[in-house]
C-alpha cells in the first residue's frame, strides 16, 4: 500500500486501533523510515497529545513529588535528601521567623482595628442615643456657662430617654482624672456617668434612662474610677426646667 492509501489510518495506528493490513503496512513504512509516514505519524501523535488536555483538572497530593524524587534519589548518586532537607530546613526557619513576625504584626493590627471598631461602635451608639434625646417630643434644653468664660454648652433632657450634655471649653482632664456628670434630684446628686473631653475642649456625654423629675445637671472633676458623691466643686451646674 502506498502512503496515500494509509492517509486515514495514522491516528488509528497511533491509538492502537488500526486493523490489518493497514497496521502492518504502516509498521513497514515506519521501519524503513518512510519520510511521509513518519511525518504523518508525528501529526497523529500531536493530535492524541492534545486530547490529553481534555481530561478534567486534578491535583496529585504533595507527597507524590517527594515520592518520585526520593525513588530517583535511591538510584542516582548525589540525588539524596540532603539538599532538599537543607533547603526545607532553611525555608522552614525563614518561614518561622518571617511568619512569626508577620503573625505578631497581624495580631497587633487586629487588636488595633478591634479597638477602633469598639470605639466607633460606642461613638455611634452615643450619637444614636443623643439623636433620640434631642428629637424626643418632651425634650427640654438648658444652657450653662453663658456668662462665664468657660466651660459652656447645652443640656438636653428627655424624661423618658435620658440626658445629653454637649459642652465646650472643657480642657482635657488631668491624668488620673475624668469628668463626672451628676443629676440633681430632691437636692441630692446622683452619678450619671464619666466622660472625657477632646483636645479642643469639646465633649459629649449621654446618660440613658428615665430621668424623672430632676432639678439640675452638674459636672465635677473626679478620680477616673468615679465617685458616688461629688468630691469637688462643680465646674458648672445647669438648672433643668422640665415642662417648658
Amino acid at each position: 500500500m502506498n502512503c496515500n492509501e494509509l492517509r486515514d489510518h495514522y491516528e488509528l495506528y497511533a491509538m492502537g486501533l488500526a486493523d490489518e493490513p493497514e497496521r502492518s503496512e504502516i509498521n513497514a513504512h515506519l521501519n524503513r523510515r518512510c519520510e511521509i509516514c513518519m511525518q504523518e505519524m508525528t501529526k497523529a501523535r500531536q493530535t492524541l497529545a492534545l486530547l490529553s488536555g481534555t481530561a478534567p483538572a486534578a491535583a496529585p497530593s504533595p507527597a507524590l513529588r517527594r515520592r518520585i524524587l526520593a525513588s530517583v534519589g535511591g538510584a542516582q548518586r548525589g540525588f539524596g535528601w540532603s539538599p532538599f532537607l537543607a533547603a526545607a530546613l532553611g525555608l522552614a526557619l525563614f518561614a518561622a521567623v518571617y511568619f512569626g513576625g508577620r503573625e505578631r504584626d497581624l495580631a497587633r493590627e487586629l487588636a488595633r482595628v478591634r479597638e477602633e471598631n469598639r470605639r466607633q461602635n460606642i461613638e455611634l451608639t452615643n450619637l444614636s442615643q443623643a439623636f433620640t434625646i434631642i428629637t424626643g417630643k418632651d425634650t427640654v434644653m438648658s444652657t450653662f456657662g453663658d456668662s462665664e468664660p468657660k466651660p459652656k454648652g447645652k443640656i438636653f433632657v428627655s424624661p423618658g430617654q435620658g440626658v445629653l450634655l454637649i459642652g465646650g471649653n472643657l480642657p482635657p482632664a488631668p491624668t488620673g482624672k475624668m469628668y463626672e456628670m451628676w443629676i440633681i434630684k430632691d437636692g441630692k446628686p446622683q452619678p450619671a456617668g464619666m466622660f472625657q473631653s477632646t483636645a479642643d475642649g469639646s465633649a459629649m456625654h449621654v446618660h440613658r434612662g428615665n430621668t424623672g423629675n430632676m432639678a439640675a445637671v452638674a459636672v465635677t472633676l473626679e478620680d477616673e474610677a468615679g465617685a458616688d458623691q461629688p468630691t469637688s466643686t462643680p465646674l458648672f451646674a445647669a438648672p433643668i426646667r422640665t415642662g417648658l
Partner: protein
Amino acid sequence: MTIAMLLPILLALHAAEDDTALVARMQRRDPNALAELYDRYGRVTFSLIVRMVRDTGTAEDLVQETFLRVWNRVQGFDAQRGAIGPWLLAVARNRAIDYLRSAGGRDRNALEFDEAAHPALYCDMEKDLFSADKVRRVKSAVEKLSPNQRQVIELAYFEGLSQTEMAERMGQPLGTVKTWVRTALKTLRDELGTAVPA
C-alpha cells in the same frame, strides 16, 4: 468540557520553550531537572491518568512510574528536536492502559510501538503544541463531534478499548463503531490541522 478542564495543560506546558534545556539537564543527570519536569508536567500527567483509572491512589503510582520511566530513558531523546511533553503524556497513557487492561483481565492492545521505548518518535513536534490557541482549538474540535463520535474517542483514548470492545460496550455493530471512530479522527485531524515543522 470547559476551559477549567483544560487549565492543567495550559499551566503545565506554557514553558515549552525551556524544554530543550530541561531535557539536556536530565541527560546530564542533573537531579533538579526531574523536579522541574514534575513541576511543569506533574499536574497534567496526573489529570490524564486519574481520568483513565478513576482512582487517585492508583493514578499517583502510575504517575510515579511514568516519571521514572522517562528519567531512565531520556538518553534516547533528542533534546534539540524532541517535545518531551507529548512523549511524557504518551508514556503516561500507555502506563494507564496497561493498568486498565491488567486489572480488567484484557490483553495488551496491539500498539506496534512501545511509546516509552521510542522517545525519538516525539521529535519534530511543534514547540507550541500546547499553546492557548491549540487548547481552544482542541476544545472546539471535540465539541464538533457527535455524542457517539465523542464517546468512541473517549473510550479509545481514555480507556484503551479496541473497536471490538467498544462495539460490545456500546451494543452497536462493529462497522458502525469503526465509522464513528474514523469520522471522529478525521474531524479532529482536519480541525486541529497539526502541522509538522519542516
